[in-house]
């Protein structure tokens, strides 16, 4: 059983890395959506 622990770390590290990547991507999308809305509102005011 202890021999499996190093092997277990492989999927655990993959899950954590992919999860962190998705989390950062999610935050980036929300920021871009906010910027897009601000830009759109700014253009509407210009008109």
């Amino acid at each position: 059983m202890p021999a499996l622990i190093p092997l277990m770390l492989v999927p655990l590290i993959i899950w954590i890395a992919v999860w962190a990547y998705l989390w950062s991507l999610d935050a980036k999308v929300k920021r871009l959506e906010r910027e897009m809305q601000r830009l759109h509102a700014g253009e509407s005011e210009d008109l």
Binding site: L7, W19, L25
Partner: protein, 244 residues
Amino acid sequence: MTNASTFGPAIGKIALLLLLCATTVAGFLWLPAAKGFPQPEMARIVVFHVPCAIVADIAAAVAAWYAIVYLRRRRFTDDVKSSVSFGLALLFSLLTTVTGAIFAKSQWGGYWNWDPKQTAILMLLLIYVAYFALRAAVDDPRKRASLSAAYALFAVVAVPFLTYILPNSTDQTLHPKNVINTRDGLDASYKIVLWAGVFGLSLFYFWAFRVQVALGTLELRLNERVRRASQKSVAHAVVVEARK
């Protein structure tokens, strides 16, 4: 507003990570060695391999659904959804192949044995890769979306044949059959971990799908703005030229 609106989803995402880590730890440390396999300790990998295969099929079905929706409504957001889901189907199929190869090495002695199941998934991977080659080869967005939606439907029709019907129609296979869904198959604890894995990976898929679709939709909106801005500047140049 920010705290209240982000707290709930953040808790859900953290719970998802904990669920995936818990299934991994349970798969390696809690489950008993799988009886009936040449290397019972290494057969635990089925609790990762099978959920990846199930989620790959869910992703392919979602891709086909949005391909149909695109062909009916002709909206680019449906094309984005179909292609994103196809990409995730390819990713989960690759994970299925890799975990299957690790299982094959431990149980059958080699990573690749040209077993009907392995050959079928290789064909499926090639079909999925061809979808992206097709998308890359067509420049016109409308033509690209229509062609890839039609191709996606053809590709997804092949999924049940290549992953279930063809490999199960022969006895000349090393791949285990009916170990999950029969009373004489794996220990009941395997089913708990396996279905928890399917649930966790499905949530993971839907999160990745949602984020990538949001990115794709933003790109579409940005391209539309650039197109309109260039049309405006061309119109402005024509007016200036006409006034001269």
